[in-house]
Symmetry: C2
Subunit: 179 residues, 2 copies
């Protein structure tokens, strides 16, 4: 397993993995990534989240279809669905929005970085039909699905080039907004 | 500076810091945390973000007021406002929502974890009045403020106890949703 010397190395080497080996994930590694999620900060520490771990082959296949037919999702030994209990979240982030997408994003990115450190692949899945995913997983009406990710060892062809990023000068402004 | 051996140690030791030293942040550390933000993944790699760096004392004071009078925010040498260009974000996450709160949350949490690793304090600020913040920073109508954070060395009394987290059994479900 690759040894990372700091968090920047993990951030830099993480990729969206779209090919998975069927190899099982060791229990210690599962515990590690679940705890990375669990320990995340959330608005007012409300922790308005549930994380569903799916290993059943039929459910994974159904979920891959609900994720706009992204078949690679079902290759991974584990599929995760990150849910938000909207009523338990902080309702007025910035005075205008619920904190739940932010809370769940922080926690799932913790898991994704911890997985990368442990040699495990993931892929943020935002292209899915929420109603279909909820039906498959028995998720109640007042709970939202924010994102999914497969989790497993990268398979053949998973090593894709890093996608580009904007430069610092394109995204950082000083003292006031800049275009 | 404390040496962290893995990401779990950073996640576990990070705190919301509400007291800051006036000591300046070294340029290399600023570069490091800004790049942690910059390298974040986003839906379809659209990177719909801008990060405003505020050092001006008067602006920091005005922003502390716009953040529901959280005075400690103005103590830090730097204040960051994380903005989203909503029109540039992926519009149909899960078929129902814009990706912008998720994209910006991922990037800002990268910065926050990288700051913790470098001995710098931060604090997710979700309690603010968006219109007031936008007026102070000249942010256009079609750009959202998602969150702010102070950034600086922790001051006296910043070492507060870790707030509790739910247990794994309270937040993880297997194969289907659980209450």
């Amino acid at each position: 397993m690759r040894k990372y010397h700091n968090i920047m190395e993990i951030i830099t080497h993480r990729r969206s993995i779209r090919s998975y080996d069927s190899k099982e994930i060791e229990a210690e590694k599962m515990d590690y990534v679940l705890n990375a999620f669990r320990k995340a900060p959330s608005a007012k520490n409300l922790q308005p989240w549930k994380l569903i771990v799916i290993k059943d082959r039929h459910k994974k296949n159904d979920l891959a279809i609900a994720c706009n037919n992204q078949g690679f999702i079902a290759e991974a030994p584990v599929l995760l669905a990150a849910c938000a209990k909207e009523e338990e979240a902080y309702g007025v982030m910035g005075g205008y929005m619920s904190s739940y997408p932010i809370d769940i994003a922080i926690a799932l990115e913790h898991l994704i970085l911890a997985a990368a450190e442990q040699g495990l692949g993931t892929c943020w899945i935002g292209a899915f039909k929420e109603k279909l995913v909820k039906d498959i997983l028995g998720v109640p009406e007042n709970v939202r699905i924010v994102a999914l990710t497969p989790l497993g060892y990268p398979g053949a062809g998973a090593e894709t080039p890093k996608r580009g990023r904007k430069s610092i000068s394109e995204i950082v402004c000083y003292e006031k907004y800049c275009d």
